[in-house]
């Protein structure tokens, strides 16, 4: 591909590795590294928001963050507590209504990277945030779609940040809330979806990327100290491991301290 990929760079961390960090911290740092060359990012709340704000602080201060609350170019001084946090409005280049953020900004493909979380994700990177079990008689009712279905289709590419477990990484989600590659290669195109779909799924164990031919998520990077067998055990399908599997650089001291300072901003009262 000739277009620059926001998630393509290995982006050597280039600092001294830090001692003692959690798997969540590794995940967030890896996700932030994936945004080192991104221009615009539509940010979901939670892990994606932490990673996107970390990327702005570490190596991409010009990264434009768009939240679905209609805050364009938010530069929050602390981590937002929710997607409609007042710090997003106060720091945004511009504010717009809900219809406008979806119709004028997301839908026309103006945003490069869509940064999503997931309750469940499957082999073809389809995301379920709606329901576990039968739709009309659910075992667990999840929050639902929010902005995700259109983020997943309209952004040029999608990055998913999610903790990996056998319950979360399933062979096929029972409910497709947001389309990854549908039933596999060619399905996005058949549906007429404009974006390229999920290009990276960054977890607490490693990084999965779609196979260029089959679009099946395969393990392409593994975090320090994690065994491939552990990743496979935390995956609900027979996970393919890339022949070019790389090992993620551990967080540098700078990455880790920046992340921790960022996380600490959220513990205040705030709103």
């Amino acid at each position: 591909m000739t277009t620059p990929s926001a998630t393509g760079g290995g982006d050597p961390a280039g600092g001294d590795p830090a001692d003692g960090y959690t798997t969540d911290e590794m995940m967030t740092v890896a996700a932030a590294r994936g945004l080192s060359s991104a221009t615009t990012c539509f940010v979901g709340i939670g892990l994606p928001s932490t990673a996107a704000n970390l990327a702005r602080r570490l190596h991409n201060p010009d990264l434009v963050l768009i939240y679905e609350s209609g805050t364009l170019g938010a530069k929050p001084a602390r981590l937002p507590y929710s997607i409609g946090d007042g710090v997003l409005a106060e720091s945004a280049d511009a504010l717009c209504s809900s219809p406008e953020v979806f119709n004028y900004w997301l839908q026309p493909g103006r945003i490069q990277v869509g940064f999503l979380g997931a309750a469940q994700i499957d082999r073809f990177a389809n995301i379920n945030t709606t329901v576990i079990g039968d739709y009309d008689n659910p075992k667990v009712r999840l929050p639902g779609a929010g902005g995700a279905p259109e983020i997943a289709t309209s952004c040029h590419e999608v990055v998913v940040v999610v903790r990996q477990s056998h319950r979360t990484f399933v062979d096929a989600v029972g409910f497709v809330t947001s389309v990854g590659f549908g039933r596999g290669a060619g399905h996005r195109e058949a549906l007429g979806l404009p974006g390229r779909g999920p290009q990276a799924v960054i977890t607490d164990l490693g990084v999965l990327r779609p196979d260029p031919t089959t679009c099946e998520l395969t393990l392409t990077a593994i975090h320090p100290g994690v065994q491939v067998a552990a990743v496979r055990a935390a995956t609900g399908w027979d996970l393919t491991v890339s022949a070019d599997l790389i090992s993620t650089d551990p967080p540098t001291a700078d990455e880790l301290s920046t992340l921790r300072r960022l996380e600490a901003t959220k513990t205040g009262v705030g709103r």
């Binding site: 209504s97 219809p99 929050p143 779609a145 259109e150």
Partner: protein
Amino acid sequence: MARFVELDEAIADLVHDGDTVALEGFTHLIPFAAGHEIIRQGRRDLTLVRMTPDIVYDQLIGAGCAAKLVFSWGGNPGVGSLHRFRDAVENAWPRPLAIEEHSHAGMANRYVAGASGLPFAVLRGYRGTDLMTHTATIAGITCPFTGEELTAVPALNPDVSIVHAQQADRSGNVHLWGITGVQKEALLAARQTLVTVEEVVDTFDTHPGDVVLPGWALSYVAVVPGGAHPSYAHGYYERDNSAYAAWDATSRDRSSFETWLAEIGAGAGSSS
């Protein structure tokens, strides 16, 4: 022309059993006081419409006010599940709750169509998702110029829309700013409207994200300082994140929820 009334009078006049009611406000300016007044007045069989049900709808659902929920994201932002919503959907407690679910983009466009006097709106959305299977209010539509296939969603036209704004002036014009979500569209889509406000001022200042709605397009304005708590009112008070966190425990258990109901003055048996 908007009339200034007390909150209880406005709710009594506007909200009737069986009505379709939208309380809007995206994280910010959520009309909690109005929601609690609906609970106190014991309304039943409402169709509740809202992009992000938030804990205000968890409370209305738990109190048994709702027969149906039309929504796009039903969680406790920054905290987790809406337990009363889940209990209604998963266990039909205190009564069965029908749901009609969309994406945010779909809901926003449904309000736009409603505000525009159109029966439907067009968007690029839903394709490939299972929402198309489970939600009847999603249809395909073909561009008459290009032949391209797109998605249509029907207008939302609530019987009543309720929002909270920072200010009204003495003519009943209302002013909100900051994150303003879909409030303008929700009001303009509705047959009747109520805006609760923090205060009445002589003139409006300007702020980023200003939305001013003329009083002649509104039904009622009620002055309710703090009416958005525990959500926030930009320029007035911050979000009470601890109240959102505390709701997780209060709502997780039916009996602690019923204690809460009694505390806000809901009549006996509100939830059953």
